[in-house]
């Protein structure tokens, strides 16, 4: 038999429920507002001309083609460098390391790296790379490599842990050396981790601005990839900042914001899809 609750407990019950619903409603409304506001303000400003030209001081026209290309270049350069480093580190940790102390030191270092704010990366990147090779996209990419190393390492490590021990033992039992086992058994097993890591890193690179402002600069020139990496350039986020804060071109800024918003949604969707797909495959 159910007894009626005392008045105090009833109030507690109702109050807590109300507060929770309020909080959830607030969060949901916030996301919805941001999404709708940015899209509504941004999409009308996206024109083919904006996407396909570079800014010209003569006509006062603004185009974001160079920024799109720069973003693409910096994503490619960062991933090309960070992938071997991150995957290699993860392989060392799960396959080779026998000294528990080294493992915990490396993992602690990765944790520290993922906690450092991007403005500090920007400063150190400026000291380390830009002061030696000049302000250029490559200096920005190298800075982003350090930032994204922990991400790639962690996702690869997680996927390596799911490769069954027996596979490795089977290969060893057949007389394969360690390197051969890593190459033929372990590496194919970490593909899903690498893909997830790549998607997460792309998201992070797209959203990064503080680390790039002082390392990659903010020029708007259309270049090929090699030339582009060697010269300064703004990515989409940096361009957004410059247009909004320094030039007051809010229409262009919102157009870029809308593009970034759509890309963020795509990346989030891709991450969940990949994770679901690989989880299914494994079970």
């Amino acid at each position: 038999m159910k007894q009626p609750l005392s008045k105090k407990r009833k109030i507690y019950e109702v109050l807590m429920k109300a507060l929770m619903l309020l909080a959830v409603g607030l969060t949901a409304a916030l996301v919805l507002f941001l999404l709708v506001y940015v899209i509504v303000k941004g999409v009308p400003n996206i024109t083919w001309e904006l996407l396909s030209t570079k800014p010209s001081y003569l006509t006062g026209r603004i185009g974001i083609l160079p920024d799109i290309l720069n973003t693409l270049y910096i994503v490619i350069a960062t991933l090309v460098i960070v992938l071997p480093l991150g995957v290699g580190a993860a392989i060392y940790l799960t396959e080779y390391a026998s000294n528990q102390r080294i493992v915990s030191i490396i993992e602690y270092a990765a944790e520290i790296l993922s906690g450092i704010p991007s403005i500090i990366y920007g400063l150190v990147g400026m000291l380390l790379f830009s002061n030696n090779m000049g302000t250029c996209l490559m200096a920005g990419a190298l800075t982003l490599v350090i930032m994204n190393l922990p991400t790639i390492m962690r996702t690869t490590q997680e996927s390596l842990k799911t490769v069954p021990r027996s596979y490795r033992e089977g290969a060893f039992g057949l007389g394969a050396g360690k390197w051969r086992v890593v190459r033929t058994v372990v590496l194919p097993g970490c593909v899903d981790g690498v893909i997830t890591g790549c998607i997460l890193s792309v998201g992070r690179i797209l959203g990064e601005s503080a680390a790039l402002l002082f390392t990659a600069g903010f020029a708007h020139a259309v270049n090929g990839i090699i030339e582009g990496l060697a010269s300064p350039g703004a990515t989409l986020t940096v361009a957004l900042y410059v247009y909004a804060k320094e030039q007051g071109e809010f229409g262009v800024a919102f157009a870029i914001a809308a593009i970034l918003m759509v890309l963020t949604i795509l990346i989030n969707f891709a991450t969940t899809t990949v994770q679901k797909k690989f989880a299914k495959k494994r079970s």
Binding site: E13, L19, Y92, M261
Partner: protein, 318 residues
């Protein structure tokens, strides 16, 4: 041979294997040398993260210490005035430190209750459909670039504050606090939901069986059981708030005032670095690096706290 435990057994077999390998077909051969080289390469790759951390720490200390010594540590940390371009420059960063602390505290004061309540609802009440929809919404919130927050803050929040509170300029501490509160929401929600999901169902069943209502159970049994995870979520939020630069730069007004009121135009530690970097030189530039060093030390402190709470979580689940 008595097998005492699994570890020693594995060690014995691997020892045996290596002995066997040495005896058998590739004794000291090319293949063995290759193995050593590959092992060395992987070790090097593994140590890169450590190298990066050391490099960042050393660089920050080397470039940050000189200005502190020149200005004097007390004048630098507790000086109330920052006038780096004046004829008689003053380099006191107390306004930045206090602004960063107030701003972060404000963001936590708003963001944590909302995030906490949301995560209890998502973890315990929400139907699977609502939960997954809200989780992707929170994921979106986490993925939005900080400049987009800054842009929306500049055009919605700043004019809004100006109108509602009837102040000459809406850009200031309050606007920064609200933007930061929104930006730390996803980290808090994600981590707290994970911690709350991990609470054993038996705890809740026992509480329900004793006659507690679901709400009482969730707040008085599940939440205390997940408290180290939730504490870690809060610390993570603090770390994110104190390190955010671009969004704050766009809404905080950026004048190096002491944070006396909520509507004061202020500068954070992060924005102090980025706002003058482009045109700084000499002692001014060195002082900026010193600010970065102070920020770095704050972050390391927060990291240590985070580690402490996460360790609490780990030892409990074992």
């Amino acid at each position: 041979m008595v097998i005492t435990n699994k570890k020693s057994y594995i060690k014995q077999t691997t020892d045996y294997n290596t002995k066997l390998q040495k005896k058998l077909w590739y004794k000291g051969s090319k293949a063995q040398r290759l193995e050593h080289i590959v092992h060395g390469i992987f070790l090097l790759l593994g140590l890169i993260t450590v190298g990066c951390v050391l490099l960042i720490t050393i660089y920050l200390f080397i470039s940050g210490i000189p200005a502190i010594l020149k200005i004097g540590i007390v004048d630098f940390l507790f000086g109330k005035e920052w006038a780096s371009t004046a004829a008689e420059p003053k380099y006191g960063i107390l306004p930045f430190i206090l602004t960063s602390i107030y701003g972060t505290a404000g963001a936590v004061a708003i963001g944590v209750p909302v995030g906490f309540m949301t995560s209890v609802y998502l973890s315990k009440y929400a139907s699977p459909k609502v939960k997954s929809a809200m989780q992707s919404a929170v994921g979106l919130l986490a993925g939005i670039p900080s400049v987009v927050y800054g842009l929306v803050g500049m055009l919605v929040l700043v004019p809004g504050i100006r109108k509602i509170f009837n102040v000459p300029d809406g850009a200031g501490l309050l606007a920064a606090i609200i933007v930061l509160a929104i930006m730390i929401l996803p980290s808090i929600i994600k981590m707290s939901v994970t911690a709350l999901d991990a609470v054993p169902k038996e705890y809740e069943h026992a509480s329900l069986a004793l006659g507690a209502t679901p709400t009482e159970t969730y707040f008085r049994v599940s939440v205390p059981a997940a408290k180290s995870g939730i504490a870690a979520a809060v610390v993570l939020g603090v770390g994110r708030a104190i390190g955010e630069a671009m969004a704050v730069m766009m809404v905080a007004g950026n004048v190096p005032n002491m944070p006396d009121s909520l509507f004061q135009s202020v500068r954070f530690l992060t924005t102090a670095v980025s706002s003058e970097m482009a045109y700084s030189n000499g002692l001014q530039r060195q002082a900026l690096f010193s600010i970065a060093l102070v920020l770095f030390l704050f972050i390391m402190l927060i990291n240590a706290a985070l580690n402490f709470f996460l360790k609490g979580e780990g030892s409990k689940s074992n």
